[in-house]
């Protein structure tokens, strides 16, 4: 019963919002599909740390940072087309493995306080990343591309163009049904990532992760070495988040170098929770349902705010509130179930 409370609230809000927004269903479906392929993999990145008992992983921002560094690397050496996307992903994933290992190491020192630590680490990652590319690029990192460097000779521009790569993979197998555009290939990519996460959770390492998450004391008695399992869970999450941000940015086609990654954690987590996940348990279904519900509400609320109160900003404040509020609700609801 409790598991469907949050999705139910989202369904009600989405229907009410849709009614007042007066947007056509085909427009909303198109938008939801775009956001489904854009944000899907980022949301899926959250599942494994939850299963490992580490709660919501706010450090997926660091995976997103790794992806942006990957893109900047590709832009710097000016590699074009599909090869560029693959190299950005490869570079980002390599970086994510190292960063994920570091995050895991720190998280093993703060058992019981993982969530707040991941949030702070996300902020630290942001500072370091901003510092490196604002100060270091062009000074101690040699620059090869005059297009992306600031005119003063140090620092990347705050907005870089990924037009070269925009929608390269989204355009495969694009189905047109009336006014609906269905990017079939990317939907399959997101779904295959879901299957991959589902599969990982049923392999040997996945069973270890679930055992650690359910009862770390018993898992230790069974002879599972807990700390490495937790580190692996974080590494998988960070790499998935990196791939998610690569897909996100190639869909959008431009990159806010210093701020593009900032809300990836909040909105992904809110989407996952909207699908009925809790701090203790999450599944692939929660992620897939959650993305659709959350983004449905996200699309209709500014227009609904405009029509109801003559103020589109209200709708935007409302959806930010919904994102934060969902997280607060999940944190509170879950603790009570532990007590009882």
């Amino acid at each position: 019963m409790k598991r469907i409370t949050v999705p139910f609230v989202f369904v009600v809000l989405a229907i009410v919002g849709w009614h007042y927004s007066q947007l056509s269903l085909s427009f909303i479906t198109n938008e939801v599909l775009i956001r489904f392929i854009r944000d899907g993999i980022l949301v899926l990145a959250l599942i494994i740390p939850i299963k490992a008992g580490m709660g919501l992983n706010f450090a997926i921002t660091i995976g997103a940072i790794a992806a942006q560094i990957g893109w900047l690397f590709v832009l710097d050496i000016q590699m074009k087309g599909f090869a560029g996307i693959i190299s950005a992903a490869a570079f980002g994933c390599g970086l994510s493995i190292i960063l994920g290992w570091l995050i895991g190491k720190v998280l093993n020192r703060v058992k019981g306080k993982e969530m707040v630590t991941t949030m702070i680490m996300g902020f630290i990652g942001t500072s370091v990343y901003q510092f490196i590319f604002l100060v270091g690029y062009g000074t101690f990192i040699p620059s090869h591309n005059k297009e992306i460097i600031l005119s003063r000779g140090a620092g990347v521009r705050s907005m870089v163009d990924l037009h070269e790569y925009r929608n390269i993979i989204d355009k495969y197998w694009m189905l047109q049904i009336g006014s609906l555009e269905i990017p079939l290939f990317m939907i399959l990519v997101v779904i295959s990532f879901s299957i991959l996460i589902y599969y990982i959770l049923n392999t040997r390492i996945g069973c270890h992760i679930k055992a650690v998450g359910q009862n770390s004391g018993k898992a230790e008695l069974l002879g599972i070495n807990i700390d490495p399992v937790r580190i692996k869970a974080v590494i998988i999450s960070t790499v998935t988040a990196c791939l998610g941000q690569i897909v996100y940015l190639q869909n959008i086609g431009m990159m806010n170098v210093y701020t593009g990654h900032l809300n990836s954690d909040i909105f992904s987590i809110a989407a996952l929770l909207a699908g009925g996940a809790t701090v203790k348990n999450a599944s692939v279904y929660n992620a897939l349902i959650g993305i659709i519900l959350f983004h449905f509400l996200f699309i209709v609320s500014p227009q609904a705010g405009q029509n109801l109160f003559r103020n589109a900003a209200l709708g935007e404040y409302f959806r930010t509130f919904i994102a934060y509020g969902t997280i607060v609700f999940a944190l509170m609801a879950n603790i009570r179930t532990i007590k009882s």
Binding site: G55, V106, R109, V110, K111, G112, K113, M115, V116, T117, M119, I120, M121, F123, I124, T126, S127, V128, Q130, F131, L134, V135, R152, A154, F309, N311, A313, L314, Y317, F318, T320, F321, A323, Y324, G325, I327, V328, L331, M332, I335, R336
Partner: protein, 342 residues
């Protein structure tokens, strides 16, 4: 923590860092009296906000990342005072007075929230803070205030993101009793208010309820055996924190000269938390002293970093560096804290 000849690692790092900044400031010919001046003003400006973290920390709830809740109460009180056009020093104290009922209300609701998430207050408080900021955004956009200085000039509905306090009580506290010694100005009025607040807080911790809060923070089981009601005592600490936080933002705004609404207070808790944690790394005993020393050190870093970054022609790096220091201090504190005894 590493101990070598009585110094801990954070003490050494912080002293070396500040010494390096002073040497850099000296070589770059940044006038020292202006820096001293700014340090005194900013100590009080941010000190009350940092002080507001003390009761919650003493109650064993941890770092209060939900400081925006208190800030919202303070902003509401201040907006009411500005709406009725109170000005001068009296206006400032009236704003403090108006903030108290809002703080008590917000603090009570906030304490219900935090009492439900025992054991994970830090992350919950952070998100309660964020969600209150976004909920209040909706309020600011529709607020029923009537003073045209506060509203958008076109349409006359919804608050402006920044409201100037110049016609009301901007810098009244900074100016009162200010002592001029050469080029250096000592804002004695501000320091007096800060000292009074610190003294009141330390007297509070000598009373029965204050001692109960400290006992709860030191050992919850022992406190329960001694007949202390956990929920009520925690609520007291949280409400007191909220009142102080409300005062904090009013002191900050009058010194800054502007009320900043909407998303401006979103990350207010992190520099404040870092300040008290730096203090905690230097002094072990008294939390109020930790808040004062920590704010002093953090604000010194804050003030020195801007001119140094400007001299090095990288002005943006100062803000990034500050955020990095704040969060690094918080992370260090999280990783070295003793595990909660529950």
């Amino acid at each position: 923590m590493l101990t070598r000849k009585g110094f801990t690692l954070p003490q050494i790092i912080i002293s070396v860092f500040i010494a390096m900044m002073f040497i850099a400031a000296f070589y770059l010919h940044i006038p020292i009296n202006i820096i001293l001046n700014d340090v005194m003003v900013r100590l009080v400006m941010n000190g009350v906000l940092v002080l507001s973290l003390v009761p919650i920390m003493n109650a064993g709830i941890g770092i209060n990342f939900g400081l925006p809740v208190a800030v919202m109460a303070g902003l509401l009180g201040m907006c009411v005072a500005v709406n009725f056009r109170f000005n001068g020093l009296a206006g400032f104290f009236i704003a403090l007075g108006f903030s108290i009922p809002f703080s008590v209300l917000f603090g009570t609701v906030y304490s219900y929230g935090l009492n439900r998430v025992k054991g994970r207050e830090e992350i919950a408080s952070a998100f309660i803070g964020f969600s209150v900021v976004s909920a209040m955004n909706i309020f600011w956009a529709t607020a029923p205030f009537s003073n045209p200085v506060m509203l958008w000039p076109i349409g006359g509905k919804g608050m402006r993101p920044t409201i100037t306090l110049e016609p009301f009580f901007a810098k009244t506290l900074n100016r009162i009793f200010a002592i001029h010694i050469g080029e250096c100005i000592i804002p004695a009025g501000m320091i007096l208010l800060f000292v009074v607040l610190c003294l009141l807080l330390s007297i509070f911790f000598k009373t029965k309820i204050g001692k109960a809060i400290t006992a709860l923070g030191e050992n919850e089981i022992y406190a329960v055996i001694n007949g202390i009601s956990v929920g009520k005592t925690r609520a007291c600490a949280i409400i007191l924190s909220t009142i102080l936080g409300g005062f904090g933002i009013i002191v900050y705004a009058q010194s800054y000269g502007f009320i900043e609404l909407y998303d401006a207070p979103l990350l207010v808790a992190f520099p404040a938390a870092a300040s008290i944690l730096i203090g905690g790394a230097i002094i072990k005993s008294n939390r109020i002293l930790q808040a004062i020393v920590g704010t002093l050190l953090f604000q010194t870093i804050y003030i020195l970093s801007s001119p140094i970054a400007n001299e090095l022609l990288l002005p943006e790096s100062a803000e990034i560096l500050r955020m990095f220091i704040a969060n690094a201090v918080i992370l260090y504190a999280l990783t070295t804290q003793r595990p909660m005894t529950r």
